[in-house]
C-alpha cells in the first residue's frame, strides 16, 4: 500500500498542475483584445436568450436538430439569415423578432463567421493523428 504521504504529494502536484494550466489559459485566451461591437454582443445575448444552441451548433457544439451556423454568414449570406429569422420554418420557431433584433443576430453570426472555419473538410490530417487548418 502506498503511504498516505505519497498520495498527498501526487494529489497536490496534480492540483498545482491543474490550477497553473487553468490560470495560464485564463490569461492567454486564444484571441487577445477582441473587437466586439455592441450590436454583436446584443446578438450573442439574443442567441442565448432564445436558446438557439438547442438546435444549432457553433463549431460543431450544440444540439443537432438544425444545421451548424458557424459559417452561415459567408455561405448563405445575410439575406437568407434575415428571411429565416423572420419566419422560422416547420421546426424552427418564429420568434417574432424585431428588425433590429434580426440585425443584431445577423451581426453576431457575421462575427462568428470571421473567427474561423468549422467545415471538417477544411482540416488536414497529420500522420501522428493531429489535425490543422
Amino acid at each position: 500500500m502506498f503511504p498516505d504521504k505519497q498520495k498527498f504529494i501526487v494529489f497536490s502536484l496534480l492540483c498545482i498542475g491543474f490550477l497553473s494550466y487553468s490560470g495560464f489559459l485564463y490569461s492567454h485566451l486564444p484571441v487577445s483584445n477582441p473587437v466586439f461591437s455592441v450590436s454583436q454582443s446584443t446578438g450573442k445575448s439574443l442567441w442565448q436568450k432564445h436558446n438557439c444552441t438547442a438546435c444549432h451548433q457553433i463549431y460543431g457544439l450544440g444540439g443537432y436538430l438544425g444545421p451548424d451556423l458557424t459559417n452561415e454568414y459567408s455561405l448563405r449570406g445575410p439575406t437568407l439569415i434575415h428571411i429565416f429569422l423572420q419566419t422560422g420554418n416547420t421546426t424552427m420557431p418564429n420568434y417574432h423578432l424585431s428588425e433590429s433584433e434580426i440585425q443584431e443576430l445577423t451581426d453576431y453570426l457575421k462575427c462568428v463567421d470571421q473567427t474561423g472555419k468549422s467545415d471538417p473538410r477544411k482540416f488536414t490530417i497529420n500522420a501522428n493523428g493531429t489535425i490543422n487548418q
Binding site: Y26, F36, N51, T53, P67, V112, P120, R121
Partner: protein, 451 residues
C-alpha cells in the same frame, strides 16, 4: 414529502427518491424530443425542441446529481459508522436543490433561458446550486475528519465534490466580459469546464459503486490497494487535462489539442486494465449476478468497455474531425450517461432503497425483465445513433453536399429506431425502478419512514 423532509425524519434517501422521479420525467422529455426528430413540427407551439432538449438534459443531469448526493451521504454514514456532521446541512442542501430544479424546469417551460449548452437556465438559478454544494462540501469534510488511512472511495468523493464546485463555477466565467467578448474565448473556457465537470460527477459515481462493490463482496482490500489508487489518479489526471477533445476543431491554441490528445490516450491504460481483469470480473459476475444491485454493476462494466472504445477513438483528432458535430457525439453522451452513470446509480438506488418497508421478492421477475429490456434497447439506441452519425459524417465530408434538410430526412429510419428503442428503454427502466417507488410509498404510509 412533507413528512420526509421534516426535521426528525429527514434522511439522504429522499435524494434518491427525487432522483428517480427526475430520471423518469427526464426520459419522458427525451421521448418528446425524439418524436420531434421524426415528426417535424411536433408540439412546436407548446413545447418546441429548444424547450424539450433542456428539459430532458437538465432533468437527467439532475438525476445524476441527486442520486450521487444521496449515495455519498448515505454511504458516508455507513462508512464512518457515525451520524453525519450535520443533518440540517443535508436538509438544506436538499431543499436548495429541489427549489432550483423546480424553478429551472418551470423557466424552460416558459421559454426563459440562459442559453448555455446543458445548463440552459438563467444564471441566477445556479446560485442555490453553488450554495448547496458548498454546504455539501463542508458536511462531507467535517464528517470524514481525516484523509489518513482512508479507502480510495473517500478520495474519489472528496475530489468529485471539490471539482464539481470548481468547474460548475468556472462555467459561469462567461458572465465577465473578459471571457464573453469573443465567441472562441468563451467556448474555450466553457468546454474546459464542462469536460472536467463530467469527470467530477464520475468521481462521485465511481466512488459510490466501488463502495457498493466492497459492501457486496465483503472484501475491503481492493479499496485500499495500490491498483485502485493508481486508477484513481489516472482518472483525476484525465479529469484535469483531457477536456480539449471537445474542441479540437475550435480555432484555439494548438497545445490544447496536443495536451488533451496525449492525456486521453492514457485511458488506454484503463481499457487495458479492463481487458486484463475480464476473466476475474466474469467469475465475480456469475457469483453475484442474482443480486439486483450487482446486475446493474455488471451491465455498467460492459457499457464502460463499449463507450471507452468509442471515446478513445473520438479523442484522436484525426477521427474526431469525422465524428464531431454528428450523432456519434450524442451516442457517446447518452451511451455514457445512461450505460455507465445511470446503470451504476441504479445499482446504488437498489442497494439503498430496497426491502426497507416491503419485500421486493414478488417483483423479481419484473425487475429482471426491466433490466434486460433497458439494456437491450439501449444497445439498439446506441447503434442507431452511431449509424445516423456515420451517415451525417459522410455528408459533412462529401464534396457535393445535398441540402441539410434532405440529409436529415434520409436519416429518418435511424431516428425511428432511436425513438422506438428510446421508448423501450424508458419502459425498461421504469419497470426496474417501480418496486423501489412502491417500497418508498409503503414506508411513507406506514410512517416507518425511510430511516
Amino acid at each position: 414529502m412533507e413528512l420526509s423532509i421534516s426535521k426528525a425524519k429527514f434522511t439522504p434517501k429522499v435524494f434518491i427518491l427525487v432522483a428517480l422521479i427526475l430520471l423518469s420525467t427526464g426520459m419522458l422529455f427525451g421521448t418528446i424530443g425524439g418524436l420531434q426528430y421524426i415528426i417535424p413540427g411536433f408540439l412546436k407551439e407548446a413545447l418546441s425542441f429548444e424547450k424539450t432538449r433542456p428539459l430532458h438534459v437538465s432533468s437527467v443531469l439532475f438525476w445524476i446529481l441527486f442520486a450521487s448526493m444521496g449515495a455519498v451521504l448515505t454511504y458516508l454514514k455507513e462508512h464512518t459508522g457515525k451520524k453525519l456532521y450535520s443533518n440540517n446541512l443535508s436538509r438544506l442542501l436538499f431543499i436548495l436543490f429541489v427549489i432550483s430544479v423546480v424553478a429551472i424546469l418551470i423557466a424552460y417551460c416558459f421559454g426563459v433561458f440562459g442559453g448555455r449548452e446543458y445548463w440552459e437556465f438563467p444564471p441566477i438559478l445556479s446560485a442555490p446550486i453553488i450554495i448547496g454544494w458548498i454546504l455539501f462540501l463542508i458536511n462531507f469534510i467535517i464528517s470524514v475528519g481525516t484523509l489518513k488511512n482512508q479507502p480510495v472511495y473517500i478520495w474519489m468523493w472528496l475530489t468529485g465534490i471539490i471539482f464539481f464546485l470548481f468547474t460548475f463555477s468556472e462555467s459561469y466565467l462567461w458572465l465577465f466580459p473578459y471571457f464573453n467578448n469573443h465567441v472562441v474565448n468563451d467556448m474555450n473556457i466553457q468546454w474546459k469546464s464542462y469536460g472536467s465537470m463530467v469527470g467530477s460527477w464520475n468521481m462521485l459515481i465511481y466512488g459510490s459503486s466501488m463502495y457498493l462493490m466492497t459492501k457486496i463482496s465483503g472484501d475491503k482490500s481492493y479499496a485500499f490497494s495500490n491498483k485502485a489508487f493508481i486508477l484513481y489518479f489516472a482518472g483525476l489526471f484525465n479529469l484535469m487535462f483531457n477536456w480539449g477533445h471537445h474542441i479540437y476543431t475550435l480555432p484555439t491554441q494548438h497545445y490544447v489539442q496536443y495536451i488533451s490528445y496525449s492525456v486521453s490516450m492514457t485511458e488506454l491504460l484503463i481499457l487495458g486494465n479492463i481487458i486484463y481483469g475480464w476473466k476475474a470480473s466474469l467469475t465475480k459476475a456469475q457469483k453475484f449476478f442474482n443480486r439486483d444491485a450487482y446486475r446493474f454493476l455488471v451491465a455498467a462494466d460492459v457499457w464502460i468497455f463499449l463507450n471507452l472504445v468509442l471515446a478513445i477513438g473520438m479523442s484522436i483528432p484525426a477521427i474526431n474531425v469525422y465524428t464531431h458535430g454528428t450523432h456519434i457525439t450524442v451516442a457517446h453522451a447518452m451511451g455514457t450517461t445512461i450505460g455507465i452513470n445511470t446503470m451504476l446509480l441504479l445499482a446504488v438506488c437498489y442497494d439503498i432503497l430496497k426491502d426497507t418497508c416491503i419485500s421486493l421478492d414478488p417483483y423479481q421477475k419484473l425487475m429482471k425483465f426491466g433490466f434486460w429490456l433497458a439494456n437491450s434497447s439501449l444497445f439498439a439506441f446506441w447503434i442507431a445513433l452511431i449509424a445516423a452519425g456515420v451517415l451525417k459524417s459522410k455528408w459533412q465530408m462529401s464534396s457535393d453536399q445535398i441540402a441539410f434538410s434532405v440529409m436529415m430526412q434520409n436519416l429518418t429510419p435511424f431516428f425511428i429506431v432511436f425513438m422506438i428503442s428510446g421508448v423501450l428503454l424508458l419502459i425498461g427502466i421504469v419497470l426496474a425502478i417501480y418496486p423501489l417507488f412502491k417500497n418508498h410509498l409503503a414506508c411513507f404510509f406506514t410512517e416507518k419512514n425511510i430511516q
